[in-house]
Symmetry: C2
Subunit: 431 residues, 2 copies
Amino acid sequence: MGFEHLKGFRDIFPEDAQVRLELFSKMEDVASRFGFAPIEYPSVEPLDLFKIKSGDELVKQTFSFKDKGDREVTLIPEATPSTVRLLTSRKEISRPVRWYSMPKLWRYEEPQSGRLREHVQFNADIFGSDSIYADAEIIGLATKILDGLGLKEEYEIRLNDRNLMNNILGNIGISNTPAALSIIDHYGKVDNDTLLSEMSDQGIDDEQAESVIKLLGNNLNPPDLMDFLSSLIFMDDKTIENVNRLEDTYTLLKKYTDAKIVVSLSTVRGLGYYTGIVFEGFDRKGELRAIFGGGRYDNLSKLLSEQSIPAVGFGMGDAVLEILLKRTNRWKAEQRRKKYAVCCSTKKLADRCIDLALELRDLGASAISDLNNRSLSAQLKNASSNDCDYAVIIGEADIKSGKVTLRTLRTGEQSQISIEELVKAVRNDHI
Amino acid sequence: MGFEHLKGFRDIFPEDAQVRLELFSKMEDVASRFGFAPIEYPSVEPLDLFKIKSGDELVKQTFSFKDKGDREVTLIPEATPSTVRLLTSRKEISRPVRWYSMPKLWRYEEPQSGRLREHVQFNADIFGSDSIYADAEIIGLATKILDGLGLKEEYEIRLNDRNLMNNILGNIGISNTPAALSIIDHYGKVDNDTLLSEMSDQGIDDEQAESVIKLLGNNLNPPDLMDFLSSLIFMDDKTIENVNRLEDTYTLLKKYTDAKIVVSLSTVRGLGYYTGIVFEGFDRKGELRAIFGGGRYDNLSKLLSEQSIPAVGFGMGDAVLEILLKRTNRWKAEQRRKKYAVCCSTKKLADRCIDLALELRDLGASAISDLNNRSLSAQLKNASSNDCDYAVIIGEADIKSGKVTLRTLRTGEQSQISIEELVKAVRNDHI
């Protein structure tokens, strides 16, 4: 027999689950400092909620099905539509408002490194501001999370702006900008000849296509963007305004992080619904998928409700982040409390072990006592394999003297210690 | 237009989501003190994993479907099968082992109070011990969670033992014990005449059925169980042994909690797979569904693998617990950090507001600054509706003097304070 998990899903054992708990808790901690409040929403939603944003194409990549009430439903593939639903369902919410959530998301796709069928994604959005302050604040939140994980030197932020791209493409003479943007989104994944032929298929002539490709592939220092563009294309007032906005956002963002920030004109993010700044975080070695990604989407609330609410947000999945943290030797449980195994030298002391374990737990330690009336050596062996730091051994003689033996399991060192001393040491360790 | 969540699902806004985060974190804290390690598993599993334990009947009540690869899969309706799969997939895990998890679970049932189609359940299991120490430890964990939430006076634990019930039913002369136990499981939900006719349908004669019903409905003080049973039925050695085990477990459990503990012979828990102690926690007013429930299931691992591993565990859902905490006025966010709105008196000070907000965040506070270049009064209004405790107002004159205005939003009191004093106050508040 034997059952296995489905392809693209994960069984997560304590050594990883513990690190993940800390990771999620650190994300929540940074979000809370930034004044972001948590929300939750269902893992199963009407499929239409996602179709309206992403079109029928998306359906192929969802875990969608008919439920037993014949409703077309889906495991949620992304966080934004539900988040916007919550926002628009309450008219009284004072804006701007900062929200975050940590849902599980599902995509029916071929599993790859960093891309699973089920993953947990940290999501954050600011609703009700169309300013560069909101843009910088949301990207700043992403960077503070990564910087707090010690990754400051390990990643770079790539900035771009969909309005800027639309204007640039217009100035080059391309009218079908959505098609051009989808093709630009393939940059780096396919070679340039393929890009050229894709553009040709969309009626973009070779000269225009060449002009576009010249813009891509450079990771620009943001203050150099104006000069770079001026040397290649005609700059109208709108384009200049777009560049200024992006550079101003960059200046604000520098307040939040020392991480590397570039402008990348090939970073357009596939989804059509972005309306302003778009951004992605990548490992600086360029080996992994995006660590986070997001942008401004001022029109989505109008699609889902009668309200028009500017919005900017991002998602940061657990899978790529785990790979990056492991690769840089940062995948470690740091906040684990000290763990004690209370062992008894004879079976009749088992009750005393429970009492002491309960006392140590009340003091803030993690403590276990034997459950199987085993020999002392078996208890000590179990203590080590259960990842305990210390064994506290209660012997018959100890009962009279009020002392126990405290053994450091890693070194094997041990000493006699009074219960009072033990309590004091444990309390100091955990307060 | 307007989209709504599906029936039996929930949108959870910050005022509740914040309390839930704290609730889940308290559960994790107690579990960690008890030496329980976290695990995670998929939300989607092969349907067979649940059929083997609970039979085809369960399928009707699951969110099961064929995925796009034509696999029969389901949203997980319970935690135990996946947990056992993780355990049996690694032969090297030293036992006894204590594990917990906090999955979302789904049931396709008619939603009722405390019973939703999607809920979060805290689950804990001990594998590798068949002793009363393990039984007491697992129930003790449930009680420590509830006691830690301040609910000590609000709930009672109902104990029973499936072996005891099997022996009692045998001594009464009933051979089809599984059928009798399913009927006993209806006790309190239907009237006694219905029970009698259900038993009659299963070939249990009226005298036997009357004997069974006499046993039910009493919440016994556990030390009185032996006398109670002796007065009603024949007590063979096995039955006496069962009673002694239950009373010994009770004695151990008293070490963990002062909550009310009773023996309830009608508490048999429907599922056939329990093999020893069974238990449930109920609000003492008897208005709600079970707060938690579980028991010993020594045979499940054998069904899912080649290994036979004794096990005892429980689940505690979020829905009933939320109702109980709200009813007893305990549904409050307690650990919320102080929240500051950094406001600027003129637009050109916006950058300084960001700087100060970032500094306050680094000190451990929650801080927001204005994103929309609004007037000071609009900023202050937004601060209040965003649940801020304080406003820190930066004025032009303040820049020179190095002072800011600190306003307590609840009272409207305010005073001039130097940045250094502010930093010191915030740091003291958060360390």
